[in-house]
Structure formats: structure tokens, C-alpha cells
Amino acid sequence: MSFVKSREAILLAAIVLLLGLIATRFPAFITPHNLASVYSDTTPLMILALGQMVVILTRCIDLSVAANLALTGMVCAMINVAAPDLPVGLTILIALTMGAALGAINGLLVWKLAIPPIVVTLGTMTIFRGVIFLLSDGQWINAHEMSASFTGFPRQVILGVTVMGWIGLAVALLMALLMARTALGRSFFAVGGNPHAAVYTGLNVGRAQFLAFVISGALAGLAGYLWIARYAVAYVDIAGGFELEVVAACVIGGISIAGGVGSVLGTVLGAMFLGIVKNALPVVDISPFWQLAISGAAILIAVAFNARAGRSKGRVILKSAEHAQ
């Protein structure tokens, strides 16, 4: 299929159109500097959406990503308070490991106990938030308690883009490689597209779903550190309700909720679309009472576009008969 007709192309066109519309009301929005900052701001959403993509591909859903982000972020912040001199690289490693471990809990429950993923992750979502409360006693960890290197790392600017943005790009490239070039990546598509066929080809469906949750968890953990460092504050309700934005980004990006269909580029563009809407609303001077309705409508329109683009035309198997009519 040519790129021009693909979902990704339509979404890209929608994003350009959106930017054009915003520029008519607030021209400074499309300066390179501002676009770079919008991209950086969208990075956590993009990272989470890429993790969510893998999970949705396998016909599951992970509602605990935002809670995982908050819990891992809180733990990173607490470690930073206890050991301010810990290298940032190690903090990121801890975040990835811990996030993966939390994701593995989801994965194991789905795989070994065969509980529906939506139930499992709703449960762990609440549990993770509860654990943050237990750990932090409801107290905040604030900017002045965190070390300068901890909060400064994602903000450093390299070639006009923050380190956070580069990390997002690296994650997207790694995921693209994983999905396109590894047996594991292909197995996610196979398992979600047709689980029965996947079993006949020797794939373990449960194991693939487990690994999808681990990947999603690890990325949520990474985003947890980035989030806490970016906003320089950690408390129980960090990123409350963010899991729904992540799912929305995936759906806009053309990931089929029924599993098996989707692409890394689509997910990245879906996250960008939402990120641009979120960043533009405060500056285009629209009443705050309208903002929620507008951002909801934008999601619906994007999804409707996608659904139309993705609709199969039906296959004409008897060309000669058709012409005969």
C-alpha cells in the first residue's frame, strides 16, 4: 500500500492541518522553538503510548500505566532524597527495572490466572496508587528536596531538543526495530491478529501477552522518572487519569482495540496529535469550559477518520461478473 493512502499519512495531514488552524489564532505556536517544547512535553505520553500499543496489539489493555508511572516516579524521588549523589543513569535503570517488575505482575495475572486484562489492570492501578500513599504517607516530595542533577537531566538541551525528547525518539526507534525486525515483535501481531492461528504456529499467546505487559511496565517506569524530574514534584495523584489519554493516543494512532493492527509511527503520531491539542488549548484563547469538549471532539474526529481509512472495501472476486451487471 502506498504511504499516501495509509492511516499514518492521513494522521500526518490532520496534524499539519491542526497546526495550521492553531497558527491562525496564535502564530507563535509553530515557531521551531515552541514545537520543540511541545514535542518534549508530549514525550511521556508517547513513551507510554508505545508501551500501550504492544499491549493492545495482543488484545489486552493496560490501565495501570499511569499508576505505575506515579509509583515508580515516587520511588525514584525517594531514592534521590535518600541518596542525592546516585548517578542519573542508575536512577533510570532502577526506574526501568521497577516498572518492568510492576508490569510483570499484570502480565503474570493475565497469563497464569487468565483474568481479563481490564480487571487485572484496574486492580493493580488502585493498588499501585495505594502503595504510593503507604510509601509517602501522603506527603509530597518537592523540588528543593531533589538533587539538581536528578531534575536537570531531562531538561538539558542538545541540538535544540531536550534530553527527554531524545529519550522519546530513542524509545520510538527501538520499538520500531523491535516490532519490525524481531521474532518477538512479529509474535505480538500474530497473537493479537489471530490467537488460534498463533497457537498452531507454535506461539505461546499468554507468554507474548506477559512480555507485552513487561514492556509496557518498563516504559511506564522510564516515563515515571522523566515525569517526576520534569515537573519536580512527586505525590500520590501524579498523572491521575493519564491512562485514558494513553489509550486515546493509541486509538487515534490507528491501533485496533480488537488487537493485531497498528504501527509505531501511527502511535507516535497519535500521541503528537493529542499533545498538540493539549498544548494549544491554553494559548488559542478558548473558554476553559469548552476545552474538554473540544479535546474530546478532536479525538472522535481523528478516530472517525481512521476508521474510514481502515475500512476494507470488500474484495471483488469475480471481476468479469461485476462488469457484466
Binding site: 507563535a28 505556536f29 518537592n142 523540588a143 519536580a232 514534584v233 498544548n279 491554553p282 469550559f289
Partner: protein, 329 residues
Amino acid sequence: MKLAKLLTSAAVAAGLFAGPAAAEDMRIALVVKALGIGFFEAAAKGAEEAASELGDVEIIYTGPTDTTAEGQIEVINALIAQQVDAIAVSANDTDALVPTLKKAMQRGITVISWDSGVAEDGRQAHLNPSSNALIGNMIVKLAADELPEGGDVAVLSATTTSTNQNIWIEEMTKVLPNYPGINVVGTVYGDDLADKSYREAQGLMQSYPDLDAIIAPTSVGIVAAAQAVVDAGKVGQVNVTGLGLPSEMAGAIESGASKSFAIWNPIDLGYSATMMAYHLAKGDVEAAPGAEIEIGRMGSVTLDETGSAAMADPFVYDETNIDEFKSIF
């Protein structure tokens, strides 16, 4: 013989106790939501200050170990048994404490609530740390004080439906004419989410390049706005102010993103609650609507029709006192 001895010692004991009884210390119990919370430890400090000022007052600082109404009921029952003269309570539940506090009042104990109130029949008077009108005035005053020439300010609130914030903003708008030159350019809503508040603050700085101050009457918003100002490199250009907690705002004061902000002062609150309980227990003043009660260095308060009073303007925190308070609450 033994009996006589016992009687004598009893008499001696009675004599011993009778001596100071003429000028017996009034015992005021300060019951807090839970022990070990910095805010209440500071309130206790204020209560002690009031006690030493009054001279004939003994403060019993107590409370449960966790913030439950059951725990407070136990504590209050023990205080009734000890026959204290007054109980000043910051309640964990508006209604649950009422029966126990009623019992205390029947025994002649003066009962007031402060900070977090109890229902009207459970206390004689209630002391609010401040009032909506005072808060509304304070948040714009903080911005105006840094802008002698006037300037553009914007409000970053919580959600569009947050009752407290909406009332404060309304009160602020009422007193705005008293601050000539201060121009409120807009109100945005960060929904008390750190990331949305941050983005809204960023948006304000982009939409209004000449913005001089952001007023955030919410503790999440003020911290996020301060961070956004630092990240935008606009420290010194845009002043973030409003309501926040010293422990959360210490970084923003240090970076200069916020010159000052306000919130109640727990020391003053403990002090005033003690003063109020003292005068009511002493019978200096009857707890009735319209009654004016002296609260020492804080001036005086007047009870409204619900028996509530507002202590004072929110207390202003800036670089001169932030270090003292950031470890308290």
C-alpha cells in the same frame, strides 16, 4: 490512730492542693487531628505562647496517633474524666465528635473547634484560620505589592468547579478596584494536576508576553506555575504567588520564581484558639452570634450567626521566614 493519720495526710494533701487552688491554673486541652504532624506541633507552640502570655493557663497538647474520629473521641473522654476547663479541637469528622463534645459541655467544659470545625451543636464557637474575603484580598495584594507601577496578572485556578477557588477569585474580583493598575488578563484552570497546571502556566506566558504575575490560589497550581516560570527562564519577570505550603514552595522561593505567597500560620492559629478558649472558659464573654472575643496579639474576632469567626489575613511567607516554616508544614 491509723485513720487519724490518714485523715491528717488527707487534710495536708487537701491543704497543699487548696493553696494554689485559689489561683489554680486553667487547663486548656488542645486536641489535634493526630500527633506528630508538623502543622499541629506548630499550633501547640502557639498555644504555649498564649499560655505564657496569660500566665495562669496550662496547655494539654494531645490527640490520637492517627487521624481518626474514634481516636479523638477516646482522647476527649479522657479529658472529660480529667475535668479540664476547656477543649479546643481540630476535628477529624464534623459530626462524629458531637455526642462526646456535648457530654463535655454538659460537665461545664468550654468547647471550641478550630482549623477543622465540628457541627454547631458540638461546640460553642469555631475559629477559622481566615475568611474567603480576606483570602481573596490577600492573593491580589501579594501580586500588587510587587507591582507598584501596576501590571498584568493572570489567575491559575484548580478546576472550573472548585468551590473554594471560585469563591476566592470572586472575592478577589470584588476588591480589585482597590488596586489601581492591576489588570487581570485571564483565568485558566489547571485542574489541580501538576502537568496541566504547568502547561496552562506556559500558555499564559505565551499568550501574554507582558505578564507580570501569576496568582494561583491552589497548592498544586502554584508549585507547577513556579516550575514553568523557572523552565521558561522568566524568573524576575513573572512573579508566581497565591496560596501554597512552605514545604512545597521552598524551592520556588529559593529560585526567585515566587517572591511571596500566603497560607494560614499554624502558630498564630494555636495561639488564637487558646486565647479564644481562655476567654470563653473564664466567662469574659458569652459565645453568641455577634460576640467579640479578644485574642491577644492577633486583635479580636467576632462570631457570626453560626458561631464561627475568622482569625486574620493569611500569613505571608517569603525568603525571610521560609526556612523556619518549611520544616513545619
